[in-house]
């Protein structure tokens, strides 16, 4: 060690703290780290799948809504041409029946998804909890109306849309939680 090194060492580490030996941990924490990383990867995959599923559900609702709108427009046009013809107007068409079946199936799947999301989401801020409660009240109201008119496309569409909103709240909460974890 030359004079310059000695001087540098004296100004950067005059007490020789660098000479202190490393401290052996005496434990192996790899298993815990690996488990944490694996569970995070699984959660990410699960949520990516759910996110994709939500997008598909939203697209389906949109398609059904457009289809309903087209049916209504066609019905209005036909009724203006032949105002006397009203045979079968109160009965749902075959397309309506298909749409209702699709919405009922979508609604059931959405409900399962929301159930799963609810289990996987941590505690939420008060505002989100209030919003969730309001949405659940609205779903209960729609269910009540559906008990009187089970073939209403409009009501089934509303139900699916409300479930979509609910799922999005849970998904956003997860994204916040995940962002917080990643920022640590």
């Amino acid at each position: 060690m030359n004079a310059n090194d000695r001087w540098n060492n004296a100004t950067t580490d005059p007490l020789g703290l660098s000479d202190l030996e490393a401290i052996e941990p005496g434990y192996d924490g790899w298993a815990r780290i690996e488990s944490s990383l694996r569970s995070q990867v699984a959660a990410q995959r699960n949520w990516r799948r759910t996110g994709g599923w939500l997008a598909v559900a939203a697209s389906l609702v949109l398609i059904v809504s457009i289809s309903i709108r087209n049916n209504e427009d066609a019905a209005t046009f036909e009724s203006s041409l032949a105002s006397n013809t009203n045979a079968g107007a109160s009965n749902p068409t075959a397309r309506d029946t298909d749409n209702i079946a699709a919405l009922i199936s979508l609604s059931q799947e959405m409900e399962d998804q929301v159930k799963q999301l609810r289990q996987e989401t941590s505690s939420m801020p008060a505002e989100s909890v209030i919003y969730v409660a309001e949405l659940e009240d609205l779903i209960a109201q729609v269910d009540n109306e559906l008990s009187f008119t089970p073939d209403s496309i409009d009501l089934w569409g509303q139900r699916v849309n409300l479930l979509l909103d609910l799922a999005q709240i849970y998904q956003q909460q997860w994204q916040i939680d995940y962002g917080r974890m990643a920022a640590l």
Binding site: D13, L17, I23, P25, G29, W30, I33, Q40, M181, A182
Partner: protein, 197 residues
């Protein structure tokens, strides 16, 4: 080599594999840097249980974020910073506490044991410092951070870092001197007693 022994080169293949989420590569990194990370965490936190927690969390964060590591600086420097950030953050969350007094111990007379004794003096004196002083003196004197960098890490000013460093060094010196004086007195007393007997 840095004081905590962090400056270990990591090969590109292992790094690339870890970025892809390969667990074997992550484990290799963990095994390579576990001791330096733990040493650094103990030096900053003082408490070994807390240091263990800090080290675990730091590795989890590092492996989650490694895909974002661009390689502009050495990997070890990046990992070291993750550990330091976790340690500082963990200390901030703790309620304020007084420094723990270190226990006296006997000093042997052989050369090796004297050096060991000095290291123990230093190590224990370091533990006697307050959190702020200990962080600054370790980061500056051992890890080689500059005052500006320490100020950034701690969210303080450069003059805070300079003041803390001077104070920490002075305190360490006085603690070591006091201990040596005590040992010297004990030796003299022992010699006097021996002479009387």
């Amino acid at each position: 080599m840095t004081g905590s022994g962090f400056d270990i080169h990591l090969d590109e293949v292992t790094l690339a594999s870890a970025k892809r989420g390969d667990m074997r590569a992550c484990e290799k990194i963990y095994r390579s840097y576990h001791t330096p990370a733990y040493t650094l965490a103990v030096r900053i936190c003082k408490c070994r249980e807390l240091a263990q927690e800090v080290t675990q969390e730091a590795f989890i964060t590092a492996f989650r974020r490694v895909p974002q590591f661009r390689g502009e600086s050495p990997f070890w420097g990046w990992l070291r910073r993750v550990v330091i950030n976790h340690a500082i953050s963990s200390l901030r969350k703790l309620p304020r506490h007084d420094a723990v007094e270190f226990e006296d111990y006997m000093v042997a007379t052989s050369g090796d044991q004297e050096r060991l004794g000095h290291a123990m003096d230093l190590s224990q004196a370091l533990e006697k410092l307050g959190d702020g002083d200990r962080q600054v003196v370790w980061l500056h004197d051992v890890e080689g951070y500059k005052h500006r960098e320490i100020a950034d890490l701690l969210g303080k000013t450069e003059s805070y870092s300079k003041t803390r460093l001077n104070r920490a060094r002075a305190r360490l010196r006085s603690l070591i001197d006091a201990n040596e004086a005590q040992d010297s007195a004990a030796t003299t007393l022992g010699a006097t007693l021996n002479a009387r007997l």
